[in-house]
């Protein structure tokens, strides 16, 4: 046992580093190649340039796609957060029959094969007579985002001491005043976090967008289209880098807010524990 323990750390540490390298090195190569003067993604770099980034601004198709992604992202994140608030509030506050199975069904899209869901959704939407547009993409994205919203919001709402709302009423505040002065400030970080997470997911979601979009494309679908042309690769790399950094910043911020919400709610209950 003792011998095992003394050997384990050295190779386990090595394995852990290798694992991290496997995940992140390819991703880190993206920004590196996006700065290359040559359009071919090869090391060593020929020279360093920012021209691919400058060119992005001069590509109307790309700008259109970015605008579409922004519209879809905002709509999907707001819709999924609103639905998520309702679900998370019900799941954390009330005990009702089939609570656990319902929770499971809400979270299921996380593990369902997305391509199957996308195809099914496509068939249903067409049967309903809806034509494909950014609206249908938003519907697909809401489906993908809701489980994330519910997960983030549940952790923010969990342990919310109901007596806080009672205390507010006891001190003379109305139901609406209580929501505004107690409930909302307590859960606001979780709500913002849910908005950021679902926006980020919608922003780089490809399969739903690919199947459900009409003539207007979102950024990932645009990138997919560009990959056919070798000359467009540096532009894609530059765009990819911007998306990567943007997603990273948004998700970090979302996680900070989520933890803050959780701490806040827990702190209120701590005295009781």
């Amino acid at each position: 046992m003792k011998a095992l323990r003394s050997i384990m750390p050295s190779w386990l540490t090595g394995y852990a580093y290798l694992y991290l390298a496997f995940i992140y090195v390819p991703v880190l190569l993206l920004p590196v190649f996006s700065l290359n003067t040559s359009p071919a993604p090869k090391l060593p770099l020929e020279g360093v340039t920012l021209k691919w980034y400058a060119d992005l601004g001069k590509t109307p198709a790309m700008l259109d796609a970015a605008w579409n992604s922004l519209v879809v992202g905002l709509s999907a994140s707001i819709l999924s957060t609103v639905l998520g608030i309702c679900a998370a509030r019900a799941l954390t506050r009330y005990r009702f029959p089939l609570r656990r199975p319902i929770n499971g069904l809400i979270m299921a899209p996380l593990v369902l094969p997305e391509i199957i869901v996308a195809v099914s959704l496509l068939i249903v939407l067409l049967q309903m007579g809806l034509s494909l547009s950014l609206f249908t993409v938003v519907l697909g994205h809401v489906l993908v985002c809701v489980p994330y919203s519910v997960a983030v919001l549940t952790s923010g709402f969990e342990g919310f001491d109901r007596s806080l709302e009672e205390a507010s009423a006891d001190l003379g505040e109305t139901a609406f005043g209580t929501f505004r002065r107690v409930t909302l400030p307590m859960v606001a970080p979780a709500i913002i976090s849910s908005l950021l997470v679902s926006f980020t997911i919608s922003l780089d979601e490809f399969i739903m967008a690919f199947f459900l979009t009409g003539t207007e494309v979102t950024l990932p679908v645009y990138i997919w289209g560009q990959l056919r042309f070798a000359a467009k690769l540096p532009g894609v790399l530059a765009l990819g880098t911007i998306l990567l950094v943007g997603s990273f910043v948004l998700l970090t911020f979302a996680e900070i807010l989520r933890r803050r919400a959780e701490r806040r709610v827990r702190a209120a209950g701590a005295a009781h524990a």
């Binding site: 007596s163 009423a169 006891d170 001190l171 702190a267 009781h272």
Partner: protein
């Protein structure tokens, strides 16, 4: 103290399906009184408190506060304020903002609001901590914040839901003294819910002892302790030795019983006493049985043998088996005279005063 009624509870029942959390409770609480609702968990005391606060609605019956019926009046429009068991301090606000929370709706001018917040903080000895984050505080100060937040509203009634249960023993005892002092200083009617008999005995003007949704007895601490109406109340408020007795005679004021070990005893008739065939239960508190040292004698005494003892620092509980008694008697004696040195197996004599024997309804 004027005997004006502050809270009038008449025939209040609260049912959850077939279960009655509170069953036909009738009670008046006087203005300026420190009143406790005492009982084990599930006895309905918290349900009653929450109905006074307006968080719960009686299934039937009415509650009036200061002469005003409270039917249909929500919690935010009642002249009551509550100190919650969990304190329910708003974690996103600092101490001062917590205390001033309810004042915001009154739209006082800034100086007046400031003055009232400071006054409330001073009443609970939190002066100078106003800017602290409420969640940085530990249990004791948090509870003071909860208290200040309620008192600042100058309610007609302050409701306290097991406010001391989360504190450690030392702090709890200190807060008991402070709560009592505070109540006398502000003169507001306090209604305390507790399951701790010492808390209720030590702080209250009057106590309602509750069991299974019913109010068993309402009386002063001394009276509920010395003259419990039934066996349940007697047992809940400290220890009691019970003896089955045979009723020999009874009139309106007293009953005479023949009890094994105690012989023939005439005692005050308990208010709720109902004759259970020919039997009655007689009770005596362990501290009313005194050890007779050396050659001392007393007009009423019992001889027996010490079969067990429990040491509690200032007192010792001696378990005494005496002939004629079905169960061993529990005797509580101070250690001033060496009760802690009496060995198990030693012969012992204990004295009692027949007045200390109470007849109990079952």
């Amino acid at each position: 103290m004027p005997d004006k009624t502050m809270i009038e509870i008449s025939h209040v029942t609260r049912s959850y399906g077939p279960f009655r959390a509170l069953d036909d409770a009738t009670l008046s609480i006087r203005e300026g009184e420190f009143f406790s609702l005492l009982g084990p968990s599930g006895c309905g005391k918290t349900t009653l408190l929450r109905m006074i606060a307006g968080f719960d609605t009686p299934t039937s019956g009415t509650i009036a506060i200061d002469g005003q019926p409270m039917d249909g009046i929500p919690a935010n429009r009642r002249p009551t304020n509550m100190v919650f068991q969990s304190y329910a301090i708003f974690p996103h606000l600092n101490v001062e903002q917590n205390v001033g929370y309810g004042l915001k709706r009154l739209r006082l001018d800034a100086a007046e609001e400031r003055r009232r917040v400071d006054e409330a903080l001073q009443q609970v000895s939190l002066t100078g901590l106003g800017k602290r984050g409420a969640t940085e505080l530990s249990g004791g100060p948090r509870q003071r914040v909860a208290l200040a937040r309620a008192l600042v509203m100058r309610p007609k009634v302050l409701l306290l839901d097991e406010p001391l249960s989360a504190l450690d023993k030392k702090l709890r005892e200190q807060m008991q003294v402070e709560l009592r002092r505070l109540q006398q200083a502000v003169g507001i009617t306090f209604v305390l819910v507790t399951h701790d008999q010492y808390e209720a005995l030590g702080m209250s003007d009057r106590i309602a002892v509750m069991f299974g949704g019913r109010i068993a007895q309402v009386a002063s601490p001394k009276e509920v302790y010395q003259k419990p109406v039934n066996r349940q109340v007697a047992d809940f408020l400290g220890g009691m030795n019970f003896v089955k007795a045979e009723v020999l005679a009874e009139n309106d004021a007293s009953i005479t019983v023949q009890a094994p070990g105690f012989g023939k005893v005439t005692t005050e008739k308990p208010p709720l006493y109902s004759r259970n065939g020919a039997g009655a239960t007689l009770g005596i508190r362990p501290e009313r049985l005194r050890v007779l040292w050396d050659d001392a004698t007393a007009p009423h005494q019992i001889s027996g043998t010490v079969v067990d003892r429990h040491y509690f620092g200032e007192i010792t509980h001696l378990i005494v088996q005496a002939p004629g008694f079905e169960k061993p008697l529990s005797v509580s004696e101070t250690n001033n005279y060496g009760a802690d040195d009496i060995p198990v197996g030693a012969p012992i004599r204990v004295a009692y005063d027949p007045d200390a024997l109470v007849a109990l309804a079952d």
